[in-house]
Each structure stands twice: as C-alpha cells, then as structure tokens.
Symmetry: C2
Subunit: 163 residues, 2 copies
Amino acid sequence: MGRLMEFWGFRRHMGRLWTILYLSPEPMTTADLSETLQLSSSAVSLSLGELVRWGAVRKTWRPGERKDFYQAESSVWKLLRRVYERRELNLIREAIDAFGDAQRHLDEARGQLAGADRRRVDYMRKRLSRLSALSKAGERLVGLLVAGRVINPADLQSAEEED
Amino acid sequence: MGRLMEFWGFRRHMGRLWTILYLSPEPMTTADLSETLQLSSSAVSLSLGELVRWGAVRKTWRPGERKDFYQAESSVWKLLRRVYERRELNLIREAIDAFGDAQRHLDEARGQLAGADRRRVDYMRKRLSRLSALSKAGERLVGLLVAGRVINPADLQSAEEED
DNA sequence: ACGTCTGTTCAAGAAAATTTGAAGAAACTG
DNA sequence: CAGTTTCTTCAAATTTTCTTGAACAGACGT
C-alpha cells in the first residue's frame, strides 16, 4: 500500500500507516504506530494528520485514556471517490482554465498577424480546442466516476475526433 | 500539460515538450525544442527519449537534413490507454501479488497461534482478502478501460461489501 | 578515413523533498 | 494553577531527485 500510495502522489508513509490501522482490529495510538513502523513521532503526526484530513483515518477516544486513538476508514471505494473528487477533478479544472486562457490569448494575437504566423496560430487554435474538448470530456467522466455511475471511455475517444 | 504530467508521475518536461510538439504544425528538432523551452540539450534528450519510449512522440526524418525531427502523437486517448496498460495495470498486479504473499504468510503462521494472537490473525486475514478482492476488481476495471469498454464503478463498491 | 555535426550518457553540482529532534501548544490531572 | 502527557510545528540535516556541462559514440559528407 505504501508503494501504491506513493505512486498516487501521496507520502509513502500514509499508505503504510493506513494499512497498519486497516489490519488492526482495534484503534491504535500514535505510539503504537511509530513503534510498529519505526517512525519518529513527528513523522507519524505529519502523515497521520494528512490521512485524517483526507478522511482515510478517524480519530477516536477511549474513556479514561488521554491518548488519541486512530482507526482506518475501511471503505476504500469511499476514499478513492474522495481523492478523485478533491484532487483529480480540481486538476482537470485547472487544465481546462489554462487551455481557455491560452485560447483567448491566441484569439487576441491573431488579428495582428498575417501570412505564415497567422497560419501557425490557426493551427494552434485547432489543437487547443481539441485539448479543451478532451479535458472537458475528462471532467465529465471523472464526475461520473465520483457519482458511481457508469463510464464510457469512448466519450474521450470521440472528444478528439476531427471535426 | 507540464503540471498534469508531473501529477501523473512523469517528468514535468515531458509534458512541456509534448505540448510544444503537439501545437506545432511541423516536426521540430531538439535544437528548436531546447531553444523554445530554455532547456539544455541533455535535458531535452532525456525527456524526449522517454516520450519516444512511451510512444508519445515519434522521430521522423527529412531528406537531406541530418538532424532528427520529432512530432507529437496526437491521439491523447491512445496515450492514456498505453499508460494505463503499461503502468497502472502493472502496479495493480504487483499489489495483488503482495496481498497474496501476505495472505500465505498469515495462513502459515495461523497454525502455531492460539488465543488473542489467533483472533488477531483471523481479523487480518479477513481484511487482506478484502484488499485482494478490491485489487482484483480494480484490475478488471482498468482492463476494461484499456479495452475502451464501458466501466461500472459499482463493481469496486461491491468488491468490498461484507460477505 | 577524417572531421564535423547530432544525440546520448555520465558524474558532479544544484534544487527539492523528506526526516528528525527539539521547542511550543493544547488538553488533561491532581 | 502547576505539572504531565500528548500532539503539532518548525528549522536544520539528510536523502533523493533534477539539471547541467563535458566526454563519448554514431552517422554522415567530403
């Protein structure tokens, strides 16, 4: 899970911590965790805090105990969904905006150009509009994923067919 | 595109190079590229080589010209598919193997344990089998994506329902 | 076959990230 | 309210990753 998580752009330790908690029948303390994984308490605090912010781990308490206890959110599907929603979707939207900005810039520039330059700009505009179409299709698809609806990858394919 | 690519686990420059080529009506040389993006020739060579290995950029030649020319593979869908096929699918399979190994280890250990230890191991076995089921469902889904077939995220959801 | 022009590889240096110990907050106990 | 205990934050130090210039290798033309 550490490797998977790292590949996904998270800290490796987030995956390791989550897994230990996921495999534990009872909630654990930060001391347990840093002992099990041989991590300093600050490393545990950092990664565990991030896991909590992502909703992958929940803080719980025990009467009488002063320490915090942690347990894993056990629905991986929920977690996946949340990551796609908060992170991938954002990323795609930033890309959509960036392509939009670029298109606007080109449109402005086009008027003042002629000849080869103009042809070049026209080519770029065509390409950019394809990237726009693609990223919008991607946004829709990820939206469907987050909603747990059926996804058809062919939508992406057709988003970039010549017009 | 640089940001997107970086997020995806590739070098940022790969995204930038690909984009320049994608937006160019004609193939470009490494000199053009390093000039446009202000990169050293070795940086261009490195990232461009990787792009070629991923099939995201193709080498072409011009009669009489000594330099190599490069042009972008313009089907983003094809590229996406290739990445999922070569990389994500592998990653998932490694995870499946790792979970399988872990399960086997637990099964071996179980015989020699009793009491609380045994209960703990039994709990871990249940959890691990859920992770296995999940990763296998993931493998199937990514397989469908690569094949361009319709995907139902609910399959993931049901893979982790209590049995 | 030699010299020149391209492209790649390598190792050193630079930049970025992770990790850690220590200091600082916060929350609880007596 | 003082004294603990626990958790978080911070800056320094380490590790890792990126970048670069130089050396190397390959291909082409003369």
